[in-house]
Each structure stands twice: as structure tokens, then as C-alpha cells.
């Protein structure tokens, strides 16, 4: 796999929108062509080369291309947005929309990601070795089609509104999460290894949520069903299964009503 390395050389005075930083765009381009790609700072259209030193080679296709960003890009948005293949590694933190609308490939952030990362993702892997911001793997405003595929794995804490309107795929949070987990979910799987605050599975139609730690305030529409022994993301244990949200509509499958499932580890 060919590797292109970006070294930040200038911190944007406001922020940078860099939706071009993804293997799909870099593949098959020379270093000069990559440097000439546009980035935006407010109304100003600038070039990638003004903010990054670019070295290495791009592959012929996105799948053959790996982008490594060495340094802090915590004021750069849209890293890996809509990427379909290949790999991006950020050795630092990124701003909003990392891996948003991602369809394939792998994006690793060795740092934190800000809000709206993995938004409406349909495939691929987003690995965050740090903390994630709010709306991780959620739907774009107004859309009922949230995350539909792929995997998001966060080693640290998550924010609020994880997996809103989720319909598929998997989100695993190593640490704690803030309010609203899996709100309006109609599928998919969310694993929280730490604690959750409140509004877990509110208005959930379908899908699975696993919480290893405590939930500060439970939703009133969840009912205890039974205890089950499970292995979840490599951890075995006994879980209490709750179903809900009883206030929400639920589909029927072969005459049986399907609920959202909330598993709480003992």
C-alpha cells in the first residue's frame, strides 16, 4: 500500500474544511496535484499545500492508498469524509466530521475526534484512540437514516447523542458516555463499557444496547425480561435484558412484537 504523509505546517487562523483528505481523492495523483487540492477557510479557497507538507506516493486506487497525518489537526474538519476505501491514520486529534458519511476503508485517529464523526456512516471502520465528541454515528439533521453499517470503536469516552437514528453497524465505546444513547434507533448495536448518564434507548424501536457500567437514570419505558449470559466484544458475563421503549411504536415479525433491547452487565 502506497503511503502519503501530511505534516501540518500552519495552524489555520479560523479552521479548515478539508474534505479532500481521503484516499479516494489522493489515489492516482502526484504530490503536486495533491498539494494543489483545495481546502476552505471560511470564504477563502486555499490549497492543501499551504497547510501541509506532503510526501510519499499515492496508490493507483483508493484501496491502495494510505494517508498518514503526523500532527495536530484539531482545527481541521471532514477528514476521511465519504471515504470508500484505503486507509487514513491521524497521529493527533481531528475536528468535526471525521469519517462522516464513510462508506469503506479504515480511519484511525490516535487522538480525539470532535462532534459528528462517523455521521450517517454506511461502511468501513472508524477507530478513535482517544475520546469522541457528540453525535458519533448519528444521523444528519432531519434524516431518519443514521448509521447503517461499519464499525466505530472509541477507546476513551463518548459524548451525547451516540447512534441517534441508528439502523445498522456497531459502535463500541471503551469509557463513559453522556446523555442520549441510541435515541430513535431502529437497528444496530451500541456497546458502552463504562457508565451512561440517562436517556439510554429513548424512543428506540429496534436494536441492541449493552452497558457494562451503571445507568444513572433509566428510561421509564424499559421492562426487565430475564438474565442472559453473553460474550460482548470479548467480555463474558451475565447481563440483565430489558426491552423497550414501551412508549414507542414497534414492528411485528411473524406475529411477535420486536422491541429495542438493553443489556446491563451485572
Amino acid at each position: 500500500m502506497a503511503i502519503i504523509t501530511l505534516n501540518p505546517i500552519q495552524k489555520p487562523s479560523l479552521l479548515l474544511e478539508a474534505d479532500n483528505i481521503k484516499p479516494d481523492v489522493f489515489a492516482g495523483k502526484s504530490l503536486d496535484e495533491i498539494k494543489a487540492l483545495h481546502v476552505f477557510m471560511g470564504t477563502d479557497q486555499l490549497t492543501l499545500g499551504e497547510f501541509f507538507e506532503v510526501s510519499g506516493d499515492s496508490g493507483a486506487t483508493a484501496a491502495d492508498t494510505k494517508i498518514v497525518i503526523d500532527g495536530d489537526i484539531s482545527r481541521v474538519k471532514y477528514i476521511g469524509m465519504k471515504m470508500t476505501a484505503g486507509e487514513v491514520v491521524v497521529n493527533g486529534s481531528t475536528d468535526m466530521y471525521a469519517g462522516a458519511w464513510m462508506q469503506g476503508g479504515k480511519l484511525t485517529v490516535n487522538g480525539d475526534v470532535d462532534a459528528f464523526s462517523g455521521l450517517a456512516m454506511t461502511g468501513g471502520e472508524l477507530i478513535v484512540n482517544g475520546n469522541a465528541g457528540n453525535y458519533l454515528g448519528a444521523a444528519y439533521r432531519g434524516d431518519w437514516r443514521g448509521m447503517r453499517g461499519g464499525v466505530i470503536r472509541v477507546s476513551g469516552n463518548g459524548g451525547s447523542d451516540i447512534g441517534t437514528f441508528m439502523r445498522g453497524g456497531e459502535i463500541i465505546i471503551g469509557g463513559d458516555v453522556d446523555v442520549h444513547v441510541g435515541t430513535h434507533a431502529e437497528g444496530g448495536k451500541i456497546v458502552v463499557k463504562g457508565d451512561a448518564k440517562s436517556r439510554v434507548g429513548g424512543q428506540m424501536v429496534k436494536g441492541e444496547i449493552y452497558v457494562f457500567g451503571d445507568i444513572e437514570v433509566m428510561m421509564p419505558g424499559y421492562q426487565y425480561r430475564k438474565d442472559v449470559d453473553l460474550e460482548v466484544d470479548g467480555v463474558s458475563g451475565r447481563f440483565a435484558l430489558y426491552e423497550g421503549d414501551m412508549g414507542e411504536r414497534h414492528p411485528k415479525k411473524k406475529g411477535v412484537t420486536i422491541y429495542g433491547q438493553l443489556y446491563m452487565k451485572y
Partner: protein, 135 residues
């Protein structure tokens, strides 16, 4: 000095509305909004007189306002400061990435004001906080 913990909420009052329309630079606006309404139980716990100044502090700032008895109570444990600059010294600016600061539900502590600590007018308050040259 004794101190109590309350949950701060803010919002409109008719006095806030009227005084605002008469001019936010006027003392009436300060009198309407530079206050905290507290429950009588909380007055007892804090041990200050009604209609005296208190210093209210949150994780996000601190401000001196006049403590008055709740007009729309009882609501023990809740502190009410009408919407305006005084309340906004204290409220939680966290928007949870949806644009709206958390104007209601900020943990605060209330203590009696020190000798001579006055409730500032809105313009004075904003100027001293924002044009203080500390940045």
C-alpha cells in the same frame, strides 16, 4: 461563610420584560433581573436576610445579585434568576453540539455577599466582564 448549593434555572418574568423594554441601561432592569429568587427553606439554610446581596457562583462564573423570596414557589433547591446578563454569568454554555447552551439546570452555590459588594447595572456588568482587558 455559610454557602448552599442550588440548581439554577432562568427565564422570563413580566418585570424582566417591562424593564427590558424601558431600557436595559436603566436601574429598573437591574432591579428586575439582578436578583435570585430562593425558597424560604433555602433562606433558612443559608442564614441571610431577604433582600440582601448574595454572591452566586457556578463552574462558569460568579455574580452578585440580590436574594429575594421566591415569588412563584415553593421550589426548594431551585434558584431562579430572570434571564439576562446576571444569570448568564453563571449558566452552563455547553450546547451538546446542537447550538443551545444549557440555560436551565446549572449547579450553583450561594453565599452572602461581602461588605460593599453591589449588584452591578447590566452595562457595567458586561463591560467589567468583557472589556476588562484580561484577554
Amino acid at each position: 461563610m455559610p454557602e448552599i448549593k442550588l440548581n439554577l434555572i432562568t427565564g422570563r418574568t413580566i418585570q424582566q420584560g417591562v424593564s427590558m423594554e424601558h431600557g436595559k441601561e436603566k436601574p429598573a432592569y437591574r432591579d428586575a433581573c439582578g436578583i435570585i429568587e430562593m425558597d424560604s427553606e433555602d433562606f433558612k439554610k443559608l442564614g441571610v436576610w431577604r433582600n440582601t446581596n448574595v454572591r452566586v457562583t457556578s463552574e462558569f462564573g460568579t455574580v452578585v445579585v440580590k436574594a429575594i423570596e421566591a415569588t412563584q414557589g415553593p421550589h426548594p433547591g431551585l434558584g431562579w434568576i430572570p434571564m439576562g446578563p446576571w444569570a448568564n454569568m453563571l449558566v452552563d454554555p455547553n450546547t451538546y453540539s446542537m447550538g443551545m447552551p444549557t440555560f436551565k439546570g446549572t449547579p450553583i452555590s450561594v453565599a452572602g455577599a461581602k461588605e460593599g459588594e453591589q449588584v452591578l447595572g447590566s452595562i457595567e456588568l458586561i463591560e467589567s466582564e468583557c472589556l476588562g482587558g484580561e484577554e
